[in-house]
Each structure stands twice: as C-alpha cells, then as structure tokens.
C-alpha cells in the first residue's frame, strides 16, 4: 500500500530552483532512500513531504492527505529528524523527550524510547555533553516520540565514525521492524545499500532513478557492463543525468 506519493514536485526559492520535477512513491513498511549529491534538492523534497514547505507545483500525498494542509493529523503521524537542527546546550535528554512528548496526542513511553535508542543512562545529561552519535540517537528519539507511522531521517549519520554509523543503522532497522515506514535521506551509498528496500536518486532537483539497489546496478550495467557495485552504478547514473530527460521508473526498466 502506498503511503507517500510525490508527483512532478517543483519548488523554488526566489530565483533558485531547488526541486524541478521529482516523482516517486513510498510503500508502507519499507525503508525508502532518497540519495543524491549535496545541494541536489533532497532536503527540500522531504520538507515538502513533511508539510514544512509548500510545493509550487506537482502533487503530494502523505497518508492520503496533502502534507501542507494535513495539519494536526499529519504532523502527529510523521516524525522528522532534521539534518541541521540541534537543541539548547543546557537541555537534558529526559527534558527534551518530555518536552516533545507534550506536543503529541499519543506519545511513546519515554523510558522505552530511551532504551530503544540506547540513551537510558544519559537521561540527565545536557545536550552539549552528548557525543555526535548520542545527539543523532536523541534526534531520532525525538522523531519517534509521537508514535509516528512515518519517520523521515535526514542525513542521520553525517559526521559519525564507523562504529557510530553502524549503531545508527541497527537502530533504523529496529524502527522498521516496529512497523514504521522510514524515508531515509542520505548521500552515503553504503548506508543506502545496507538499509534501503528502494531508493530515488535526485540530482539537480530532478529524480533520475527510482527502484531497488539491484535495479540501479542493472540499469547502470546497460551503459557499462563492467559495473557490479552500487557506487559505480550510482556514479554512472548521476554522470549521465544531463542526458536524461525524465524519471527512470521500475516500470520503464522492466
């Protein structure tokens, strides 16, 4: 069952075209990756999906509703871990969770959530004293505090060491097992390969591929038969993006 539909999305900021024709859909229960280089329009796309930005053109549907007009219902069903947001330095982990729990109609249990993200022992620690990985885990916890059906996780392992990234990956897999649909924004191919059932590649504001990682490799192998890995496939597809005029879909490839 489709839970998010994005069709021909277009968004500008003054003269800058941030998103120029992005199309994909996300199925219930999957981890869907949004992959692309820095400045490709990934965050703008998910901000439109979360209802924080209103698209200029195109159609969007999240849980059957328009995200920008979905109001209270959608905001209580979509948890958003933002790429760049932090918290006041002196705010403690437990306080942050209590604060955000008060904003939702049906919040998760704070002790259970702290256990899930591995921060039970840091409940009284100020945000400023957390490590990078712990901050990301808290950020994920805040995205999950409202018991959402969809979790949007934006660049959640940027700046983390390999061990920290692996911990976060395990956490994302646990989130999926709990029945939450995950929209994962990343520019790390190993992350996408490890976690995502399907992905969309966005570059220069356009979606140039939507499908499974295996499908991406097969798609790139049409252009270069020596390609066997996701990284080479991704680079091949992105490099040839200028010559593509529209979204390559699974249907179009099969």
């Amino acid at each position: 069952m489709t839970i998010i539909t994005v069709r021909e999305l277009h968004k500008t900021f003054g003269p800058t075209v941030a998103v120029d024709n992005v199309t994909f859909s996300v199925e219930t229960g999957e981890i869907f990756g949004v992959l692309g280089p820095n400045g490709a329009g990934k965050t703008t796309t998910v901000e439109c999906i979360s209802g924080m930005l209103e698209a200029d053109r195109g159609s969007l549907s999240v849980l059957g509703r328009h995200p920008f007009r979905g109001g209270y219902f959608l905001r209580s069903q979509v948890g958003y871990q933002m790429q760049s947001s932090t918290l006041p330095a002196q705010l403690r982990v437990g306080e942050a969770l209590r604060l955000f729990a008060s904003l939702y109609p049906n919040p998760a249990s704070i002790p259970e959530l702290l256990d899930t993200v591995g921060l039970a022992h840091r409940r009284k620690t100020a945000f400023a004293a957390l490590s990078g990985g712990e901050r990301q885990r808290l950020s994920i916890a805040l995205a999950l505090i409202g018991n959402p059906r969809i979790a949007i996780l934006d660049e959640l392992t940027t700046g983390l060491d390999p061990l920290g990234r692996r911990d976060i990956w395990n956490l994302v897999e646990r989130i999926r097992r709990s029945g939450i649909t995950v929209l994962l924004v990343s520019h790390f191919l190993d992350e996408i390969e490890r976690l995502c059932d399907r992905l969309a590649i966005i570059t220069m504001g356009r979606s140039i591929f939507v499908g499974t990682p295996e499908h991406l490799i097969a798609r790139a192998a049409v252009q270069n038969p020596h390609i066997t890995g996701l990284e080479d496939a991704y680079l091949t597809i992105v490099d040839s993006a200028a010559s593509l005029t529209g979204t390559e879909t699974e249907g179009a490839q099969s």
Binding site: G51, Y72, Y80, S85, T86, L87, Q90, E95, R98, L103
Partner: protein
C-alpha cells in the same frame, strides 16, 4: 501537563541554568541601583535645584528606583528575550517545532511568559534592595505603578520582538539588543535621572519607549500628575512594533 506548561517549565529551567541571562534578568537592576547608591558620590544626598514640590525631601538615589525598574524591563525585553529566540532560530529549534502537531508559536508564548515573570522578579528584587539597603520610599500609587509597569513591559517586549523576529543567531540578537538597550538607558535616565535632565532633553526622552516607561513609572512612584502622554507614547510604540515583529518574523 499541557504543551504550553511543559514549554514554560523547560524555558524556566533553561533560564536558571544560564548565569548571564539570569543575572541580566534578576540581579542587574538591583546591582545597578546599589552601585549608584553606594559607589557614586552624592546620590544619597537630597535632591537640589529641581522645582517640583513633590520631590522635596527625596534623595537622588530615590529618583533612581523607578529607573532601575525600567532597566529591568529593558534588559529582559531587549537582550534576554531576543537572544533566546535568535538562539532557537540558529539551532533550528523553531523549524523543528514547526514539524510537530502544536507548531512553533507556543515556544514564543512560553518565552514571553518566562521573560515577563523574570522581569517582574528583577523589578521586585531591585525594589526590595532599594527599600531595605538604601532606605528608599515605596510607590505613592501601587496600582498606577503596576499599570505603567505592565504597559511598559508590553511596549518593551514588542520592541524586543522586532529583534527576535529577524536575528539569525543568539549572538546577533544579543549584539543588537545590547546596542538598543545601552542607548535606551540614557533616555531612561540611568546616567541623569529624569527630574534632573534638562527640559528639552527630558521631553525628547519622553517620546522614546524606555524614556516614556521611566517617566511614567517615576510619575506613578512619586505621585506626580497622571502620565497620560507617556502612556500614550508607550501604546504608540507597542502597536507598530508588535505588527512589524509579526509581519517580519521568520521561523528559519
């Protein structure tokens, strides 16, 4: 606990953990008053050269008490409040709250409430210090002091809201706020108390927000005629300031 109550509690906790903001909100007006009373020569001597029978028998430091209350208003409304909101914008907290069901407006409400409580606290501490340590007189009309203080607080918070609406970071909000605050202290009479200012300067100061606040509070404190003009000036600053802050506010 409701979202607003939790936000207020969190904001209050954060204020208590921020020594600079706490000092500016609660201690600065009292410290300013005590320094004027104990450090600056001649401030505990009788006022001379002022042709106002209502001020007969008062000392210079007595004239500073309502001015210290005005300083309490300015320090919170022009520095603490905009810095907190600028910091939330810088950290993405406003944006983050924008993705929740209740939206980010309540954090502004909670910050305004905590700021208002802290400036009332600062005013009480300053008044208490003045009466206990400097032997200052209490207000002639408590009701009028409460009304003028309330109107002054609304006017100054509206002015501070303009800075809060636009400042990209806590540091820039604090810098702009401090600049406005220091300049406002002059019109409030911190360097020369209102009754001792030259008449033209006093009249000009009366049209500035902190000057009008100071003059109306002084009038209420010493039982001078009802400060209608100053209260109208405060209202005249409040409405456009609040409107401008509302229209130019940016969440990110």
């Amino acid at each position: 606990m409701s979202a607003l109550a939790t936000l207020i509690r969190t904001e209050a906790s954060l204020l208590l953990r921020n020594p600079t903001a706490l000092f500016m909100a609660l201690a600065f007006p009292a410290v300013l008053l005590l320094m004027q009373g104990f450090v600056i020569p001649g401030t505990r001597e009788a006022v001379t050269g002022v042709n106002d029978p209502l001020l007969d028998g008062l000392r210079v430091i007595d004239l500073f008490v309502p001015i210290a209350l005005t300083a309490a208003l300015g320090s919170v409304a022009l520095t603490n409040f905009p810095s907190a909101i600028g910091g939330y914008r810088e950290q993405g907290v406003l944006r983050r709250l924008g993705s929740t069901p209740v939206g980010p407006h309540r954090i502004l409400a909670s910050q305004l409430i905590v700021s208002s409580v802290s400036l009332v606290g600062g005013a009480f501490i300053a008044t208490g210090a003045a009466m206990l340590l400097l032997g200052a007189h209490g207000p002639q009309s408590v009701l009028l002091v409460v009304v003028t203080f309330g109107l002054s607080a609304i006017a100054m918070l509206s002015l501070g809201s303009i800075i809060a609406a636009r400042a990209a970071t806590a540091q820039s909000a604090n810098g702009i706020g401090m600049l406005v605050f220091i300049a406002s202290l002059f019109t409030a009479g911190v360097w020369t108390p209102g009754p001792l200012m030259s008449e033209p300067l006093r009249q000009i100061a009366g049209y500035t927000p902190l000057g009008a606040a100071s003059q109306s509070l002084s009038a209420a404190w010493y039982g001078q005629p009802f400060p209608l003009l100053q209260l109208l000036v405060l209202i005249a600053w409040t409405i456009p300031s609040a409107f401008l802050a509302y229209r130019t506010f940016r969440w990110r």
